[in-house]
Structure formats: structure tokens, C-alpha cells
Point group: D2
């Protein structure tokens, strides 16, 4: 057992921290100004492309993707930077400190990361050439269309979008919402989850198909909001209607009935990334809370000297240290025993992260007074983003139920 | 001891409930549509004026203001509907069920209510004629400018805006923010809190002056956000700059040094109103949570049959019943022993209400899945509004400290 | 609506407060000393009888029992002090401040109170003469035997003790535990719940019979503990075995199948009493917390000046004021619309009281340092007693489920 | 970074798990029976000696003590099993599963462990020969006397026991309480903290001296309780009076003024041990909760199928995994950068452990119904033990304040 980062991680951390200081943090205000001046209210400000170019130049690019350029090992698929989950995790944390700029600058932003993983793992050569390569090059963006407004989508059996084979094509009908990134006109490709066979056993009913944005019948209808935010800087969260949308049969991923399994394969790394970035958010919130309460005075002394504020700061540190260590262990488990072997830990961090980070950011807001709610500090928007994680990839309640079943199973079998 | 409403309250409750069903709820969708079509992004949609006219016709008007038209009793000042706090409280709760429409329809919306109270209690005849009467008639709106961006405003001694006597005028310099309602161009009058004498004892340094919107030097600079909401339908929350703003000396309220006392007088009823409306919000959230979870199915049964969801519903009921009963008792205390005698209870409900209602609305959001975050349900916006109450009129932490001091004092003296 | 106590209540409160000061509090140390010197480790110390005599002399006796000596109204049955639940509630709170002495001194201690209620409401003349009268006179004590070690007793259908008719007798077989008071040799009569007809519909399977302590086959086996406490001063919590215990058929209460209904009738007033006494416990804990933290110094100032401690004190006040007001409203509802009409509120206070009071007593313990855990302060024992209320009369979880069902029913029917 | 145990740890874990199954768990009932039959109510039951002999035979002995028999490395002092903190931690967790038997069986029970560490690190050869050796051999037991009834002992400056040099002797006067283990007549040696120089700077006022139990003037007065438990099986928690107690000057540890530093040196490892054992307690509680809820039925299905119970089980798993990983990291830090370098993490686990484990054991109790409170299950006693950790070595509040100061210091310096 050893809790030190390895040399490769330390080296990349140092490079990334330098990049944050020299490029990312200084760009935050530019980004805000450019957001206000955009012509298309759903496009990314131009500073993002500058940052991407610089990050790529520095080799801080596609770090999330396992398997290096020359990798020939089982998990590797030759596209990524060759990092393990455990090596990437502390880098993802650092990008979380500037969540609107750093992940996209490194081409490590959701949902593209998950979509690239899926294409790298499951795409045909043609699919990878057509969609994976421009994603790896940061030229286009992508969306993953699963959640539906009409049903409780946490139960995959509820999915009602239909994908019907008709000759050499699949015909898609349905309505999706909260499709992150899809309002961005540069989001060119949708991976769509739907049902090919409602009569199959529950986890073989779904399939996934690739649907280019400009396919007739696909309408990106409106941006859904999150506590008033439209998240337009990273393509919003669209409601999308599929009305007799036809794609060639070769746009299917893997095979009919593989949709649920593909979705599962996508979740493990995605959760690690989300969790580590969220820890970075929490660290930034703690820093802001400390700085603000040291700088302001009430009732004759700095707010930082109030016992209740110190309690918040200490609790924040106590909670985030526990959480980070478990997330890192989970990354290690995924690397060593695989996603299935890390199932309990993946669910545990999926449940613990939003609860922990939401609490910390709430306290940082409270420590800021009214300013904490405002557009002048990143805290309120951070909070809203974290709050959505209690739903994303299924609500906490579903994961807790599943985790409890597994825990109880130990003793059920033992009887 | 008797927990039944009196006849007058029951009668008004019945009238108001009928008005909610016949006019307010049906107008909610109209309101949303008109919001999207406004020319001035900070003005109220026209349906609001229709509702005001109808409410006034029905006598559901200015119910918040104690002292009837012919009242000659001490507390009365001849303008209001003549209700006690205890009679008004359950009506305020009902308006909270549609928080963007019902309070304004009845001319019972903050911050006008507090401003009208102040003018009725402390205004000169000229001040009342010029500003109170059009407010009572719902013709104009008003703002209360206290919070400042540069200091922790919860400590009144920190207020840095200056109000300096210069001949027959006062000259005001300073910067305020989160001035609710001030983005609305029909907000015609500001009550401004500032310092006339920084060398006086702490609670005699402040004064309040009336500043008409179009006074030179007053700049309404921008709308501050609350999470991602601009709250434009009720005039937003403005940042306002006062740059050598000059008003006649007779615009002063009461006298120099009275600012803190006027602010305190304003808070008691204001808190009761906020608390009761918040309880109405919680009741609406519980209703939405029940309806949604009954209507949706996951894993083979309605979500309402999940044990955890039932726990949320039961806890919500348990908490809200406790809170409501204490708020009503507080209203009764204010009516019978006055604001000072009800100090502990007023602080208690100020602390308890946002914590309780925030928890309930959070659970209702969670029960809605992604929709709970969206613009298609009122829950996320309700949540953001309630969250601000943990700051409004001073953060919880300041009130708790004060309440604890009073509790400890019992035993300090006893020693 | 009126939150003032009526004249009768105020008068009794004054008398009771005087009795607490003059007799109860001074007896607390005597009680502790006598406990250590008892011959029978399960008997009450002699000071208890002195206090009972004095309370009775002062007319502070059997206050819990509705219906005065000459009462002829529906609810009254001619035995009690003639107080309503609303009148008795604030008196019960006061007795809670000295929970081991005051309730028993006034002959208002559980489980005798509930048993006397049941006998007054449902007993035959013979049963009342034989058992109710000596209970009213404080000459004997009694037990209610429902909970069983082998099953989850919160589901009444699980009860496995059998009560079988055999000629002119009933034969009882089964095992009960946590039978409060039964270790006291002066506990002369058991009301036993068991099944007379397992094939009847669920709520008609149970019956209740009176079983004198010295009936052959009844064995009081051992005292069950509560966090290390044996609660010997009020008769402990016994495990009791019924092995072919035979009682005359006329010992049945009401009729076969009435057991569940009798149990329900017993619960409403019992819960009000428990809740009000618990509030008295909380008030005593707050007082102890204030006194201790004012008296002790750490890091250069009284502990009472620590922000976190002030937060505890303020939160305690905020929570207890809400709870008390709802408990009083519940008492009023029971008096005016009956137990059934007050069902939601009775469950709400049953759920809220232990959660609230446990939290407060925990904070008072923490404020005392190690002493808070010890036998030198009443706090740890108070805490243990309150903790049991999360189970007593059914665990919180069962009550929440039932409360949620009722809440959901409003909307189920409305669809 | 690597989260796998090393080979030595795996080997010892296997041996210890085998010993738990073959000897410890089967002895639990024997232990309970022997407790009831003891002559001296404060002595350990004979089965404890049997287990000690067997453990020693198997080499499972003094595992807690760093530095092996032949160790010559910096940290080692030649007495222990030569394990690092990281190697010992998972073994301590396992012993926590049977907290009254396993730690003592392995001669790894507090407070002897800390006392042996202190003697090994700071004792003279004579002190080590006289007291350390019989402790290492498990022949005697020991106590650490620091907490005082009259002052808030969390502030070391408050300590009022005096240690005055008088010729070749030290004279000790004062009163201590909650001196764990001291009721056991075989507790032969006390390490006593007191003040030698009240005029020195705060952290140099205290000294520690060795006081044999039979020194005249030392009176072990009574056993303090924890909730209702006297913890007699491991020597209770004594109140001890020192009345002109005289010991030879060579009984001083290190030098005058070193008391605070010695106490600090003692705390790091002590906290790791407590935390890991507590995690073992939590794991046992989770197991009991699962087994009980699978075995009992209410309302037609096993209690384990209730959503709320599953929520408890899942939350327990989520929390304990985070906590354990951080405790292990803290052990690693202590081994690699020392106690001072691990200061934040040591405080973090000191704060997090009782909060987490108390919550889990509370839920396990609730899942057991009344039995959870009783002497028939270990849960209530486990809970009481864990509850004391929120005070032991200083209350949470003091540690949080200190931790917050360190966090704020980062930004204070940066300004």
C-alpha cells in the first residue's frame, strides 16, 4: 500500500498546474466577457480554441483516454495518452478547479470523453474514422441521448424511443431531454439509446445508434435549464425530437440489444472523471471560503474567526479528504480488477460525491453573503452543476438500492 | 388556547382560495408566455395588472397592512384592511402557493409591503401623499436599498454609504446591490439606508432617506442573479450606484440616526409574511412531489411506493406542521405583546423557515428527476428563492448568535 | 386562535412549579442516595411515597385522566381531575424536567396512565373496582405486555402469544419483553395482548386480558437494559414468560378481537404525555447546557462564547419552540375533533419528538465533556430514555410510512 | 499509488481472521457468563487469560508496537512486532469486531498500548525494566491520568493537578476522573499529568510522572459510568484522588515541562488504533443489521426489503469505505512523513470516525427494534463506546478549530 503519486503523474500534475496558472485562470474573465458578446448564444467563446491549441501543444491533450498511441495491451486502443485511471484522476481533479475552461481546453470534457471511449471500444473502423478522429482532434463535439421527459429514465426498461429496422436503415422515433452539449451547433453527432426489441429480456431491449446532427427528422428543440442556468458555454442541455429519423444500418453500435451493456461500459470511467472534477470544485470553494472570510469583518473581527465558519472549513477538509482517497482507490480498482470488480466503490463515490461537494459549496456560498448567489463568483453555478449529479446516470436512490442489494447478498448466501 | 381560525379569517381564506382557483392558477401559464414576449426584459407581464384589478374588485387588497380605513387604535393608521398579523398570516400562506402571481395580485408583495408599512408608520403627510398613496393603489413600485457589495452588511455598523447634510439637501454617495425590484422601470422610489454620523454610537449612525428613481446621480447599473435567475418578473435585484445624489432635506425619514430603528420596525411583519408565504411554497412542493411520484413508475411500481420517497413525504409533513404552528403563534405574540415581546419567536421562525422549506423543495426536486431542475416546473426557481432567505435580513448565523445570547442571559442573570 | 393558557391551566402550572421547587428538585439527590441503598434492587426509594402523599394533599393527583369526579359528559368517566388534554399537556411538560420523580409523584407515570385510561374506558365494574381503584390511589403499579422478542412487534399481525379459551378460562402462552415496570414487585397487574383468533382479519385477531402478577405460569424472568441502564427506579423492563397461564374468562377486556382497537385508543393520550414530558427534558437539558458552558473556561473565555456552542443553544430553542406548539395543537385537536381527527398530528409529534429532543440532549452532553456521560448529571440517562421513543409504540419508520400513505391518498383520490 | 496490502499484512490478516473465528467469537458468550459470575466486579473474566496465552503462542502479540525485537532503525526500539502503522492498521480493524476481547487478547488494548509506547520512547532503562516489561508480557495493566472533573481538560492549560518537587521526591495533589482501566486491581501503574510550573509558557507547564497504584495518598474512589455502562470488564473509568502522593524524583518522565510533548507523541498512533478498531465495530454493526433485517418480517416482507433500511445499509457502506481509506492513508503518512506531517489527516480521522461509526451503529440499533438497546446484542454498548470518542483526547470542536486554523493559514500567508 502506497499513497504517493507515481513519477508520470507528478510530472503531469506539475505541467498541468503550471498551465492552470499561466493560461486557464487568467482566461476566466476573458471567457465571461466573450460569453456576453457571442452572436450565437450557444457557441463556445473564441478563447476556448486558443486554450485548446496551447494545451495540445503542451501535450496536455486527451489525457482521459486509456491506451497510448503505440499501446498494444488489452485495455489500450491506441488513441489516448496511455494513462491509467489512477494516473488521470488527480489531473481531472485539477481541471475541476476551473470547470468551464480546463476540461474542454484539454479535450477532456463530458460528454465527449464518454462518447470517445465508446467509439474507441466499440466503433467500427469506419465509425472511428468518421467520428472518433475529429473528436480526438477537438474539431467537433458530440452528445449522448438517453434521458426522456415522459418516463423515469433511471429504469432502462422505461425508455420509450423506438429504433426499428427497416431494410438497410434504422428508423428512430422519440423525445429526449437534458441532452448535454446538443445546443452547440458544432455538436455534430448523437449517440442515441432506444429500444429495438421491447419483447427481449430487460437488458437486451436497448440499442445505440449514431445519428448525425443534420439527419432529417432530428429537431433540437430548446435548451433545458438547471436552476436558471442554460449552460450555454458548453452547449446547454437540449430537448431533442426524433421524428422518423432514418440512419443507415451500419450506424448501429455493436449489435441490436447491446445498448444497455454499452451504457454500462461508459459509466465507470465517466464517474471517476465527474467525481475527481467535483473534488476540484470543492477545493476551489474551500479556497474562496477561506479568502472571503479572512477578508471581511463583522462584529469586530474577521468572519474567519467565527466558530461556526471554522466548523464549516474543518468539516469541508475532513469530508473532502475522505472522498478523494476513496475515489483514487476506485480508480486503482478499475485499473487492477476492472469496472465490475470496482462496482461497489464506483457506486459509493457516485453517491458520496454530490452530497459532499454540494454541502461544501453551500457553505462557501453562505460565507459569501449575497455575493455567493451572484454571477460575480463561480459558487452558485458550481452548486447547480453539482446538484445535477444527484440525478445524472441515475438518481442516488437507485444506486443506493442496488448497493444495498449487493451488501445484503453476502448474508443471504451465507445463511 | 384555541387553534381555530376566527370567522373573519375563515371568510377571507375562502374568498382567497376561490380567487386562486378561478384566477391565479389559470394565469400561471399565461404569465410564463408573456414573460417570454416582453419588450422590456424587466417589466411585469400584462396579466399581472388584470389580476390586480380583479383582486381589488373582490376586496383582496392590501390585506397585509394593519389598521383599517377608519381605524383609530394605536397600531392602526387608517390605510389597511384592518387585519391582525394572525389574521393575515394564513392568507399570506395561500399566496405563497403561487409566489410570482398571488402576492403581487393582492398588492401584498415584498418589498412594497415593508416600504408601505414604513411610510404609514413614519412618513410625513407629504411623504405619504406622494409615495404611499400610489403604492397603496398599486400604481408604482418601490425598493429598499440597504445591502452593499463591499462590506458584510449583516453588521449595520459596516454600512459605508454616506448621507451628508448640505444646506437644505442630503448628498448620498455609495454603492448598493441586491436591491430587489429596482430593475423594474416602474419602481419609482428608493428608501436608502446610509450613514449620517459615523461617530455616533453604533445604532444611531444610520439614517434613511427617500430617493426618487430619476434623481440625477442615481444609476441602476445591472441585475444581480440568484443562481441563474434574474427574477425579472418582479423587478430583479439591482446593483445601484449613488454618485453625489441630492435630495431635499425633507426626504429624510423621521430624523437623523433613526435608520437602524426604522429598519428593525420593518422586520417583524416582513418576516412573518416571508415565513407564511414560504410555507405555502412548501405545501405546493409537497403536492407536486405526491402527484409526480404517483404518476411515474420505475422498477415495476409507482415511485410513490418507494420507502425513501414516503420518508420524504412524511418528514415534509412533520416539519411543515411544526413550523406553521410556530409562525402563527409568533403572529399572535406580535399582535398581543408587540414585536419586542416576540423577539425570540421572530428569530426562531426566521431561522427555521428557510432550512425547513429548502429541505422540502429539494426533496420535491429529487422526486421529479431532471424535470425538477427545469423551467417546466416551478420547483428549482422556488428553491433558489428560498435559499436566499438564509441571508435576507441577515444570515442565519447572526440571528442564531443573537438568540443564543438571549437564552444565555437568563442564566447569566440568575447566577 | 389564541395561544394563551386558560386560567385553570395557569393556576395548576403555578401550583406545580411551586411543588417542583419546594419538593421535587430537592428530592433528586435523596432519590439517588436511596437508590444506592435499596434492599430490593427493583423497588422505588421511599422518598417517592413521601412525594406522592404531598402531591395528593395538594390536589396534584391523577391530572392526566380526563373526566372529573362528577363529570357526566361523553368523554368523562368520573375518575380524573377533569382536565382536557390541552390543559394537562403543559403540566406534563413540567413533570418532564424531573422525569424520574415528578410523574410518579403525581400518579401520572407511564405505563400506569395508559392502563388506567384503558380500565376507565373499557373495564367492567368489577375490573375497575379491583384494579383501577388501587391504581388511582397509587397503591399498586401495572404493566402492559405487548412487545415480543421473537417477532417484529410493530406489525400487530406478528404477535405470537396465544390466548385460548378453555371453558371458563383463557390460557395464555408466549414470551414478552421490554415490559416496562414489571420488575417492580408492586406491579400487581398485567394487561396482556395476544391472539385469540389467528384466522380473523388482521385487526380482529388480537385480544387483551388482565393477568394478576401472581398467576401460576407467569414468570418475570429478567430485567432488559437500555444502554446499560436497568431503569430499576421505575420497575425496569422485564422479560416475562407466560407458560399455560390461566385466568377467568371475565378477565378479558371488552371482547375477543378488540385487542387492536383498545391498543389504538390507548396511544393518542399516551403520546401527548410522552411528547410533553420529553419537551420538559429538553428544557432541562438546555438549562444545564447554558449553565455549564457559562461556568467553564477554555482557551481564554467561557465555553458559552464559542460560536459552535451558541449555535447549539439557538438551534435547540428554535426546534423546541416549534415542537411544543405543535404538541399543544395536537392536544387541542384531540379535545375538539378526537383522536381519529388528530391522527396526522399525533403521528407527526410521535416522529418529531424523539428526533428533536435526542439532538438537544446530545448537544448538552457534548457541552459537558466527559461529565455528560456520567452518573453525576442526568443527561446521559435522559438521552437513553429519549432514544427508546424512536421505537416505543412502533418505530418511526412505520409511522412515517403510514403518514405518507395518508398524504398520498389526498392526491390519489383527486385524480 | 497502490491500495493492496503487502504480503506481511496479508499473512497476519489471515492468521488473525483465523484466530477470530476459532477463538475470539466462540469466547464472547463465555465472557458474558463469566462477567456475571466474577467475585471482584472490576476484574477481567478468566477466559481473557486463556485467549492471551493462545494469541501469544500464535505470535499475535504486541503487534501495535513499532520496531521489532532486533530492530535498529530510527523508529524502532526493539520491543514490538516490527510492524509499521500501515501494517498494523488493518489488524486493529479486525480486533474491533470483538472490541471487548480481541484487543486485550493480543495485548493491544488501550490505554496500555499508549502507555507502552510512551515507556518505550521516553522511559529510562530502570522504568522500562520495572513497568514496560510486565506490560509487554501482559502481566499487569496501566492507566493514563489526565482528565479532571473540575476543569475543561481539553485546554491543557486548565489542568490543575500539581506536581511539586520536594527534595528527592515529587508531591502530587489533585483529582482526576474517567481514568480508564484504573478500577481493575491489576492496573499497577499510573502515568499522571500535572503541572510542575504554572508560570512557564503554556505548553511547558506540564509534566508526567509514574505513580504505582499502592502509593500512599492515591485513592481510586469510584467507577464513572458511560451512559449506564461501568465498563468493568476492562477496568472501568475511575475517579482518582491524589492527596500528597509522594514518588521518587526518578519517576519523572523525561524532564519537567515535557508533559505536553509526551502527550502529543502518544496521540498519533493512539488515534489510528481507535479509528481502525471503530471501523471494525462499524463492520460488525453492518453485518448485524443485514442479518437481522433479512431474518425478520413485517408487513408481509423481510425488513431488509424496506427502502429506508436499504438506504441505511448503502449509506453505511458508502461512509465506511471513505473513512477506512483515509485512515489507512493517515497511517501511511505517519510512517513516511511522521506524526507532524500527518497532523491534518490525524485530526480529520479523529473527527470523522465517531461521527460516521455512531451513525452506523445507531441505524443498526434501530433495525433491531428494542433488542438493539439490550444486553442481548452488542450494539448499544458499542454505541456508547463510540459516543465517548467525540470527547476522548479532546472534543471534536477543539480539533475542528485547530484544523480550520491550519487551513486558513495557507491563505493568510498567501495574502
Amino acid at each position: 500500500m502506497d499513497f504517493a503519486f507515481d513519477a508520470r503523474t507528478e510530472e503531469l500534475r506539475a505541467q498541468l498546474l503550471e498551465f492552470m496558472d499561466s493560461h486557464i485562470y487568467p482566461a476566466e474573465h476573458v471567457f465571461e466577457e466573450q460569453l456576453a458578446e457571442r452572436e450565437n448564444p450557444w457557441s463556445a467563446p473564441p478563447v476556448v480554441e486558443d486554450l485548446k491549441a496551447e494545451a495540445r501543444r503542451r501535450g496536455l491533450w486527451n489525457l482521459f483516454l486509456p491506451g497510448g498511441a503505440g499501446a498494444s495491451d488489452a485495455g489500450g486502443h491506441g488513441y489516448g495518452a496511455g494513462l491509467t485511471n489512477l494516473q488521470y484522476a488527480p489531473l481531472a481533479e485539477i481541471t475541476g478547479r476551473s470547470p468551464h475552461l480546463a476540461p474542454i481546453a484539454l479535450n477532456c470534457a463530458a460528454p465527449d470523453t464518454g462518447n470517445m471511449e465508446v467509439l474507441a471500444m466499440f466503433g467500427t473502423e469506419q465509425q472511428r474514422k468518421q467520428w472518433l478522429q475529429p473528436l480526438l482532434d477537438g474539431e467537433i463535439r458530440s452528445a449522448f441521448a438517453m434521458t426522456e421527459p415522459e418516463v423515469a429514465s433511471s429504469d432502462a426498461r422505461n425508455i420509450s424511443t423506438s429504433i426499428i429496422r427497416d431494410g438497410d436503415e434504422y428508423v428512430i422515433n422519440g423525445r429526449k431531454w437534458y441532452i448535454t452539449g446538443a445546443m452547440n451547433p458544432n455538436c455534430r453527432i448523437f449517440i442515441v439509446m432506444g429500444k429495438t426489441d421491447p419483447s427481449a429480456e430487460p437488458h437486451r431491449q436497448q440499442s445505440q445508434v449514431l445519428v448525425p446532427r443534420d439527419t432529417p427528422g432530428l429537431t433540437v428543440k430548446r435548451g433545458m435549464k438547471v436552476f436558471g442556468y442554460d449552460d450555454s458555454s458548453h452547449g446547454g442541455h437540449a430537448e431533442v425530437v426524433f421524428d422518423d429519423v432514418r440512419v443507415p444500418a451500419e450506424n448501429l453500435l455493436v449489435e441490436e440489444g447491446a445498448g444497455f451493456a454499452i451504457a454500462q461500459a461508459r459509466l465507470g470511467p465517466g464517474r471517476i472523471h465527474h467525481c475527481m472534477r467535483s473534488i476540484g470544485i470543492a477545493e476551489r470553494a474551500i479556497e474562496l471560503m477561506c479568502r472571503r472570510t479572512l477578508a471581511r469583518t463583522a462584529f469586530g473581527r474577521p468572519i474567519a474567526e467565527q466558530g461556526v465558519v471554522q466548523d464549516w472549513i474543518a468539516e469541508s477538509r475532513v469530508r473532502i479528504e475522505q472522498l478523494r482517497t476513496l475515489v483514487l482507490k476506485t480508480a486503482w480498482l478499475m485499473d487492477t480488477v476492472g469496472n465490475r470488480g470496482a462496482h461497489t466503490e464506483i457506486q459509493a463515490i457516485k453517491i458520496a460525491t454530490p452530497a459532499t461537494v454540494e454541502w461544501i459549496v453551500d457553505k462557501a456560498i453562505q460565507a459569501h453573503g449575497a455575493g455567493g448567489l451572484s454571477q460575480d463568483f463561480p459558487l452558485a453555478e458550481m452548486w447547480a452543476g453539482i446538484r445535477t449529479l444527484r440525478f445524472a446516470d441515475g438518481p442516488d436512490e437507485v444506486h443506493k438500492r442496488s448497493l444495498a442489494h449487493r451488501e445484503l447478498k453476502k448474508y443471504r448466501e451465507a445463511r
